[in-house]
């Protein structure tokens, strides 16, 4: 029942968003000119038609780490809720869990995985 409200809200928001998409088309003037839709490139002609080029990612590895830490967080969220009923046992459990993963973080740190994966000259 609670999630139905969320679904209704979602539907309403979709309608609002679609309104925003088409409102300029409805209200705005239409004065076609030759170069009005030319992509912005500081006033010079485009070099390539497509800007969707391949470029080196400096934080590719961080994406992988995000995944792992998010899974860790997913395990810890139930723990935070029931910690009150677990007592010392729960604390030790969590401490071990965090300790092992801190080791993982330290390993990544030592290996330089948390740094920007570029040479200095690329800045």
């Amino acid at each position: 029942m609670e999630y139905m409200a969320l679904l209704i809200f979602f539907g309403v928001l979709m309608a609002v968003a679609l309104l925003f998409v088409f409102i300029n088309n409805l209200l705005g003037p239409k004065t076609p000119e030759a170069m009005e839709d030319y992509p912005y490139e500081c006033g010079v002609p485009l070099y390539d038609r497509s800007a969707q080029a391949t470029f080196h990612q400096g934080y590719y590895l961080l994406g992988l780490l995000l995944l792992l830490f998010d899974i860790e967080a997913a395990f810890l969220f139930p723990w935070t809720v029931v910690y009150r009923y677990l007592g010392v046992f729960g604390f030790i459990e969590m401490f071990l869990f965090i300790f092992i993963l801190t080791y993982g973080l330290l390993y990544a740190w030592r290996k330089g995985a948390l740094d920007w994966q570029f040479e200095e000259e690329y800045f």
């Binding site: 391949t54 809720v81 993982g104």
Partner: protein, 177 residues
Amino acid sequence: MIQWLVFFLFSGIAVLSALGVVFLPNPIYVILALLSVLVSVAGLFFIAGAELVGAIQLLIYAVAVTVFYVFVLTAVPWEKAIKKDPFYRVEGLISFPLVLALYVEMVLVFLIGVSVSPKGQFRELITKFGNTEVVGAILFSKYFLAFELVSLVLLIGMIGAVIIGRKEAQTYEDHSS
């Protein structure tokens, strides 16, 4: 009644987008279709009353995994990616039996799981305490060893990710120098 309607809505979206993931040629459409699959599966979880799983599905799959794919997007050579002819035909043929085996396994696990799963024992508990509390209570008492092992698995995964990721960076340096 209305629950069934919403269920069919979400599952329909999920199936259609899953087909999109397989058949769409453009990688960015594939990622969008994947996002749609993940969100609608989260919606299915919510309908089934598994709030925690649904929310975590949104948090991990719909954000973390898909953002990672967005990164991959910029590493794809576009001229090759948009071409429609299949690149990995042989690999696809080889992997087909494996995929089939995986599906058979999934169906088996599902059927066995249905036959041995506790029949509604937790229903009252869940309505009384809430989804997250019940999951937490079971996870941190009965299955605490598995929980600790998960941390080890995650550690191994992290080390593997670092090693693989760094290797790539080193080859990049080799090329540039």
